[in-house]
Symmetry: D2
Subunit: 116 residues, 4 copies
Amino acid sequence: MTDAPTDAQQACFEAGIKFGSLYHQFAGTPVSPDSTRSLETAIAESIENQPYCESVTVDVLDDRVADAIDHENGYTELTGALMEVEMRIEYEGVVARTRMEMEDGYPLMKLQSVEQ
Amino acid sequence: MTDAPTDAQQACFEAGIKFGSLYHQFAGTPVSPDSTRSLETAIAESIENQPYCESVTVDVLDDRVADAIDHENGYTELTGALMEVEMRIEYEGVVARTRMEMEDGYPLMKLQSVEQ
Amino acid sequence: MTDAPTDAQQACFEAGIKFGSLYHQFAGTPVSPDSTRSLETAIAESIENQPYCESVTVDVLDDRVADAIDHENGYTELTGALMEVEMRIEYEGVVARTRMEMEDGYPLMKLQSVEQ
Amino acid sequence: MTDAPTDAQQACFEAGIKFGSLYHQFAGTPVSPDSTRSLETAIAESIENQPYCESVTVDVLDDRVADAIDHENGYTELTGALMEVEMRIEYEGVVARTRMEMEDGYPLMKLQSVEQ
């Protein structure tokens, strides 16, 4: 059965767009423990500009950044393993909540709940 | 009512991830009419690597690239206005179809249909 | 005549790397007048992590961002036309100064001076 | 002593721009052994569009990609450790040659020679 998407499905599609955008826009950014706070803020405020994106919380994990650092140069590049992200998307009254977390050693983008 | 996501919602979330990834990974790539074919192929084959992504078709539009070119340098940078994209995502038997197309002068990522 | 690079040439090479990095890492980032300050700070602090990069100043120009905005969505994407950048690179005692500015309608990355 | 840049210094600056652009545009791209060839071609043809860039050779190393793969998903993300790059830049008769190669476990962008 093929149907036009429901509002809840649209909300989930929009949530996915924000996650893919966040990851592929900012992965690779040079980061050190001195620049984690400004990077968190810029990522969150940037993605919150996108349509239907109500809130974004980004934690770039200082201890994992410190562990990942190339000690000769003093910095590393942002990857999914170095941050935790939560987002709330609202589309026509439907709220989708998403989270990026590590699972079995890999960062996984997860759709947590859909509320309507 | 808050529910765990359905398979159809998960399919739509995955479809959104692919679209956001594609756009923010490749937007900004230097492009000219001489390099449109190789860019189309690389974008499609790259995103098809992602989970649940069954097929990606990318058309970088030669005439729009030619129109957008900075004539001194002979190239421009890839934007949503210069390409058309279609994707088919399959998640646990659900098929989500998506498309990027221009609407009122802006590139819009659209969830076209969900089939289960 | 082929020669091993001089320190001054190395300084200029390093300066170029930072400029290309900055541009292609951050171009495409969603931006609105509400998020220009955090984006400026994150770009500067991120690129200052790179080797030999002594200082980076980024001005994302609020008025140009406002003019570039897609009024339906309330944001645009960062391009070279929306920011001014200055950098100072030091390599083995050589100081290279660079600047990105608009020229004939296009953003141009310029090597301004080399001091040794 | 502060001087206006020489043609050789400008050539080195341009060479650096190309390297930073290449790395930060394409790092993070999903890649598997099935998509290495198309990615190499697209990267090379894309960066060759940039001013003064005479030739770019990219080898995405199949064996390193295979080793880096997340076996559950069947792909990884492009990093400097997975590719070798050579470029030839010509600026006002000066030829700069550059190379990215691994050194002590880290990818290093190197200015190899300047010929005038």
